[in-house]
């Protein structure tokens, strides 16, 4: 187990290195000098300023040297300096990462609570009105793009009803709409997944055995049914955490949520390469670590699985 974790973490280093290398190469072939113009403006920078900035950012050196320097700093946790405000990337992305994490965690909580309870309810009361409407609503939720849902919710709950603040800030009310927008598709998928795996488990021999030997209904449900049907759901949630980062780009834009998704969009518009590389590096690392956590969790939930 310990060796397994170490090996996986070793993979993490390789994946992060690979990702930064590919990105570096891609950004290098883009036309236009990243500090050649003032962010978002038609105006060319003063040649003296360009020269000074090139020196400051090491852009006057060959790409290989730049990459070497970048990796060297990366090991110490330094992601470089951004091109528009000359602030350290870690200082810029730190609070944003925290915000995105808050949003993602809130979304996952919504996924779990809504998804699993709806799924379980639907499976237990199969073909009832509950089940049918759950299937209908979840299918609908999967079909509506989150950008549409987000904008409709913003229109109704913020502009018309004025229940939530337009600019989220740090308040608790501020996180509700964005988290819900981000979570809704996954929650619906989780509900459908939970329903189908549970139906499968309900028919399994060990459940019949448990019922036959007269275990109380509650024990059968929690110990045998739930534990077995939750495994695919956990796997799915682990993977979806990564896609949440992608969904965050849309949600954060709609609700002005100051996270890394928004930072990425703005950095791309401004050719702000250090931020782009920084966001991707962080996302890759988070994704790999989460996958590891999911695999470990998997083993904990299902003793039959042995990690080696």
């Amino acid at each position: 187990m310990g060796r397994y974790v170490v090996r996986r973490l070793g993979q993490l280093v390789i994946v992060v290195l690979g990702a930064t290398m590919v990105l570096f190469a891609c950004l290098f072939v883009l036309p236009g000098d990243p500090v050649g113009q003032i962010a978002g403006s038609d105006k060319a920078r003063d040649p003296a300023v360009i020269e000074q900035l090139h020196k400051q950012y090491g852009l006057d050196k060959p790409l290989v040297v730049q990459y070497g320097t970048y990796v060297g700093k990366l090991v110490t946790g330094d992601l470089g300096t951004d091109y528009t405000q000359s602030r350290p990337v870690t200082e810029i992305l730190g609070p944003k990462l925290e915000n995105t994490a808050k949003l993602a965690v809130a979304a996952i909580v919504i996924d779990i609570v809504i998804g699993i309870s709806v799924g379980v309810l639907a499976a237990m009361r199969r073909y009832s009105i509950w089940d049918v409407s759950a299937t209908f609503i979840t299918t609908l939720a999967i079909g509506v793009p989150s950008i549409v849902l987000g904008m409709i919710m913003q229109r109704v709950f913020v502009i018309e009803l004025d229940w939530f603040p337009l600019i989220a800030g740090d308040s608790f009310e501020g996180i509700i709409l964005p988290a819900f927008t981000l979570a809704i598709i996954d929650a619906a998928l989780v509900a459908q997944l939970a329903r189908s795996t549970m139906l499968e488990v309900l028919r399994a021999d060990y459940v019949k055995t448990a019922v036959a030997k007269g275990l109380p209904r509650r024990t059968v449900l929690t110990r045998h049914i739930m534990r077995n049907s939750v495994i695919p759901v956990v796997t799915y949630l682990g993977i979806s955490f990564g896609t949440l980062l992608g969904g965050a780009i849309i949600t954060e834009t709609i609700f002005n949520w100051n996270g890394i998704g928004l930072a990425l969009i703005q950095a791309i518009q401004q050719n702000n390469n250090p931020i782009i590389v920084g966001v991707v590096t962080i996302s890759v690392a988070v994704f790999v670590v989460l996958n590891l956590v999911v695999d470990l969790l998997y083993a904990a939930l299902d003793p039959r699985i042995r990690l080696a």
Partner: protein
């Protein structure tokens, strides 16, 4: 000299009105401005600025904050004129190379330090030094010793001296009778001793200034900036207690502003283009609709030294072939005004309406005839490039159709990301036309004519790449001579007369193809605030407004 993509261009300020906590604090010691009440919180939103420290404040958003934190020698007015601020008098030598300003005595920075000639010299040197790598330092290029400071050879500009504590003497390396107009830019602000150098992070995030407002706390990046009234302000004091500026994301900031105004949380807002007619219908009758042509222009930029538009007649043919009225009506819902000049109408002293005869009305016959004379044959390919994602697709498409219909040419329109478009304009062998916009940094015609059209502004490097702002490579000795002559003329009226001649020379050559003016639209809460207007930088005039 600020050109821009629509994204930042349009980026004016948004005002999010907090349900005005009409805290009656602060007596109306502004006095002279009359009856309005003091107090009130003005909440507004902007997109994240590059800097709010005068050393690098550059776009509308950064300038909004810096301009309210600092007061310099002169100030620009919304209609393109210049008013004295801390300068009580100015004197220029006969040769136009030495300026002497007297500075108002007894004014202070918000930390109590006196604002004197030294504080101006300190502020200007701080911007000009090489290590500052300031994007706006070039405004000081005319000051003697600037080159040495920029190259790192010196730390202070030799041209700046203080014969006595309240007299600032500026020696220039070349005559410039408009130098005082340049000092309206925030880069010429004075700074206190605590400012340190340009890399002083603490000061960059919470500048201590001498303006009508001061910072409350520091700049919370991507979140907010809060200003409070400076009760020790040395000139006419502001009335508002507080300005709460939220920082919105640039991707949908405009939508958020408009929604905020609709829901009553904002006092000032831009609007998404599709919503304009609805917003106008609703808010114009209530007196909350502001529509102003500001100091910017939209052009097609023809490459004049290469390709199909090398001849002036070909460019005139293109200009005649475009139906501006139809595009403004069809694409912009009638919200823009057509432009018929190179200089914006806001420069009232030099404005020559209808100078561009080919801009007034589409004339297919004339366009065809000129094209034939110029050898712009049907079937010729004209490249038109624009930046994507900034709402230019539709009108470029319309221009393409009109040119193809009228002239029979083949228009190849290409959308590119912004950085790519700029790199493309600059590279040797560029051809055809580019979408282009320009705005002035200070109210003088020179700020359009010199950077955009003077031969010296082409500034090719050793590889033939254009490093200046004259991307059309327009070069005409007569024009250059007139500009030089204007720059050497002391008297403002005489100078303006020559600028008008120069504009005519460039217009006769169709060096730029004017399209429409930079018409700015805002929603403003005139029900709660008196005297709310758009200033020279397209921001609300925070230091002047009062509660009703």
């Amino acid at each position: 000299m600020r050109g821009a993509s629509s994204a930042k261009w349009v980026a004016g300020a948004i005002v999010i009105a907090l349900a005005a906590t009409a805290c009656g604090g602060g007596d109306d010691d502004g006095g002279s401005k009359g009856s309005g009440k003091a107090g009130g919180t003005f909440r507004m939103g902007i997109t994240e600025p590059v800097a709010i420290d005068p050393y690098n404040a550059q776009e509308s958003e950064g300038i909004l904050v810096t301009d309210n934190l600092f007061t310099g020698l002169y100030e620009p007015t919304a209609d393109g004129k210049v008013n004295p601020a801390l300068a009580t008098s100015k004197k220029v030598s006969k040769d136009g190379k030495t300026w002497t300003f007297t500075i108002k005595k007894g004014t202070k920075f918000s930390n109590g330090e006196a604002v004197d000639a030294e504080s101006f010299i300190r502020g200007w040197n701080r911007v000009a030094v090489k290590t500052a790598a300031s994007d706006v330092a070039y405004h000081m290029a005319g000051i003697e010793g600037f080159a040495d400071v920029q190259s790192g050879k010196a730390k202070t500009m030799t041209g700046l001296t203080a014969p006595d504590p309240y007299t600032l003497q500026v020696k220039l390396s070349a005559p410039d009778f408009e130098f005082y107009i340049k000092t309206t830019h925030t880069v010429f602000s004075p700074v206190p001793k605590v400012a340190g150098d340009a890399k002083n992070k603490a000061y960059n995030e919470a500048p201590i200034g001498n303006g009508p407002f001061k910072m409350q706390g520091k700049w919370e990046h991507n979140k907010s900036i809060t200003l409070v009234r400076n009760d020790d302000y040395g000139l006419t004091k502001a009335h508002l207690d507080k300005v709460q500026i939220d920082i919105l994301n640039s991707a949908n900031g405009v939508t958020l502003e408009y929604q905020g105004f609709e829901s009553g949380q904002y006092d000032w807002a831009r609007m998404p283009t599709p919503q304009l007619p609805a917003a106008k219908a609703k808010y114009e009758p209530q007196g909350e609709w502001i529509q102003t042509d500001t100091n910017g222009m939209n052009y097609l930029l023809p490459i004049t030294d290469n390709g199909p538009l090398k001849s002036a007649k070909a460019r005139e043919a293109v200009s005649y072939a475009i139906d501006r009225d139809a595009i403004i009506k069809g694409v912009f819902q009638g919200m823009y005004t057509k432009s018929t000049t190179i200089l914006p109408p806001v420069f009232t002293d030099v404005y020559q309406k209808d100078l561009c005869t080919s801009c007034i009305k589409q004339d297919k016959a004339k366009a065809k005839q000129l094209a034939a004379e110029a050898g712009l044959k049907p079937g010729t390919t004209i490249e038109v490039a624009y930046n994507t994602g900034a709402g230019h697709e539709e009108w470029i498409q319309a221009v393409k159709q009109q040119l193809e219909q009228v002239l029979g040419v083949k228009v190849k329109s290409t959308g590119k990301p912004f950085a790519e478009l700029l790199a493309d304009q600059q590279k040797p062998g560029a051809t055809g036309m580019y979408r282009f916009a320009w705005g002035a940094d200070y109210p003088t015609p020179d700020n359009f004519l010199y950077p955009l059209l003077d031969t010296a502004s082409i500034n090719k490097d050793e590889n033939g790449k254009v490093t200046g702002d004259n991307r059309g490579r327009y070069s005409n000795k007569k024009f250059d001579d007139l500009l030089a002559q204007a720059r050497a003329t002391e008297d403002q009226a005489g100078r303006n007369a020559i600028y008008k001649q120069a504009e005519k020379v460039a217009m006769d050559d169709v060096a730029l193809i004017p399209l429409w003016n930079r018409t700015q639209l805002r929603l403003a809460n005139t029900k709660k605030f008196d005297g709310l207007k758009m200033d020279f930088h397209e921001d609300p005039n925070l230091s002047e407004i009062t509660m009703k």
